[in-house]
């Protein structure tokens, strides 16, 4: 069964999600990857306002390919999340409700997720053209000079994802391979 989830996520919704749940996400989210995270954290350190809301919001780790004429966005699959690990706890402590990416997270990120009741979703790496079809609006809202790494506000409909790590710290990356490995 695939659950439909509305973004941004209320605490009630995200606390009920469990590692391994298959979901389709609809609503508004924000994109940011390496360079944008670096700038967001620099703004926070200077005590300045961030260019987008954080509380209850979801950040998607993606650097899309350019939009051809007549398209909203180019291919837009997830990038590896671990590169954002040093930045993510500060955003989680500001109320970020979820992240979408691929790959492992640090113990510090998982602790910050548990502390704040947040969820880490996985999108399928390499399913980038397919994911682009679920994006109905895209607008650069900050750091335009970063090109593909600029912060974008996206509206998505039925974006396919899976709960990789839930708000209690349970990880599909631990339970999944343990279940299907030869030494299970």
């Amino acid at each position: 069964m695939i659950q439909s989830i509305t973004l941004p996520m209320t605490p009630e919704v995200r606390l009920n999600l469990k590692a391994g749940d298959l979901v389709k996400l609809s609503g508004v989210l924000y994109t940011a990857r390496d360079a944008a995270h670096k700038r967001l954290i620099e703004l926070l350190k200077k005590g300045m306002e961030l260019p987008m809301p954080i509380r209850d919001q979801v950040i998607y780790y993606v650097g899309p390919s350019p939009a051809p004429a007549g398209r909203i966005i180019g291919s837009a699959g997830p990038t590896s999340s671990y590169r954002m690990d040093s930045y993510a706890p500060a955003l989680l402590d500001l109320g970020l409700s979820g992240m979408i990416g691929k790959g492992l997270r640090s113990p510090e990120v998982v602790e910050a997720m548990k502390r704040n009741g947040a969820v880490y979703f996985g999108a399928v790496g390499g399913a980038a053209a397919l994911i682009a079809q679920t994006i109905t609006q895209a607008q650069v809202i900050a750091f335009e000079d970063l090109g593909t790494e600029a912060v974008r506000r996206l509206t998505v409909r039925d974006f396919p994802a899976v709960v990789l790590i839930d708000s209690r710290g349970n990880s599909l990356y631990e339970t999944g391979p343990a279940q299907y490995g030869a030494h299970a």
Binding site: G63, V124, V162, G176
Partner: protein
């Protein structure tokens, strides 16, 4: 002697990159479809079916298979009786890459300096070019678009000769295990054994372009490839790393002569998109 105008090289390079970034190779598609048919995990099936459907969306829309359209890597083997005319061969290759990434609306992912500025060059250049000579008057080009999700998970091990076959298998399996979900499994694993610190990775990278299903001609290396694939798939990492039966689609190994004191092993991990093409001019 034969004269080849470098503009022919530019055009061939442009054509290859426009195609490989959008059209999945038939052997890769076949391997993914087999993995989907064999998969027991519902979550991995959800991932594999998206990977398969993504091929069709790319073909229909012209959007690249992955937003990371990679760093361009080219192995060019030129006959020594070829005279390149009309300009600088290296610049002609760069021009082909530049044209493809502009015309295909592919992402430009190259920065000019790695540590301090990290400023994007804006045209996905420079490409990495490995040029070698051979007898004759043909030019062969093997071109790859290598994403860095998987490139970052590739490894070099400088083993002692006494490590033997078990040492090589452990190196291969540990690289894939440590990579976990990061390189976008199911992956294709290229292994370079022998040579030295810089040539083992070249062997490994070239090995990722061997057609899936084709084993090494030396049956000892073919057996090594089979053992490595079985052990990797016993890890249970699965598609997207969320648990499943297919972690790697294939393992291809190549070897080269090496020093009496060493046994370098390079493990090049390639994501399931495996974008490459070849042409002989």
């Amino acid at each position: 002697m034969r004269t080849v105008d470098v503009s022919e090289i530019s055009q061939a390079v442009r054509r290859m990159y426009l195609e490989m970034n959008v059209a999945v190779l038939p052997d890769v598609r076949g391997a993914v479809e087999k993995a989907l048919a064999d998969e027991a995990s519902p979550a991995a099936r959800y991932a594999l079916s998206q990977i398969r459907d993504n091929y069709d969306v790319s073909a229909r829309t012209g959007l690249p298979l992955c937003q990371d359209t990679g760093m361009a890597v080219l192995f060019i083997t030129a006959g020594q009786d070829v005279h390149f005319a009309g300009g600088d061969l290296y610049q002609a290759v760069q021009q082909g890459v530049r044209d493809a990434y502009r015309d295909g609306y592919f992402r430009k992912s190259i920065v000019s300096e790695p540590l301090f500025d990290r400023k994007n060059t804006g045209d996905n250049c420079p490409a990495v070019i490995h040029l070698s000579l051979c007898p004759g008057e043909k030019v062969h080009i093997l071109a790859m678009a290598k994403g860095f999700g998987s490139e970052n998970m590739s490894r070099v091990f400088m083993l002692a000769p006494a490590a033997g076959e078990e040492g090589v298998l452990n190196a291969i399996v540990s690289a894939v295990r440590d990579a976990g979900p990061n390189p976008c499994p199911p992956v294709i694993v290229g292994v370079g054994i022998g040579g030295n610190f810089e040539t083992a990775p070249l062997l490994a990278k070239k090995a990722t372009a061997r057609p899936l299903g084709v084993h090494h001609r030396d049956e000892r290396y073919a057996a090594l490839e089979k053992k490595a694939l079985d052990r990797i798939n016993a890890l249970g990492i699965g598609a997207s790393g969320i648990g499943g039966l297919t972690t790697a689609l294939w393992v291809s190994a190549e070897y080269a002569p090496t020093h009496i004191a060493g046994m370098p092993v390079a493990v090049c991990i390639c994501c399931h998109a495996s974008r490459h093409g070849e042409v002989t001019l």
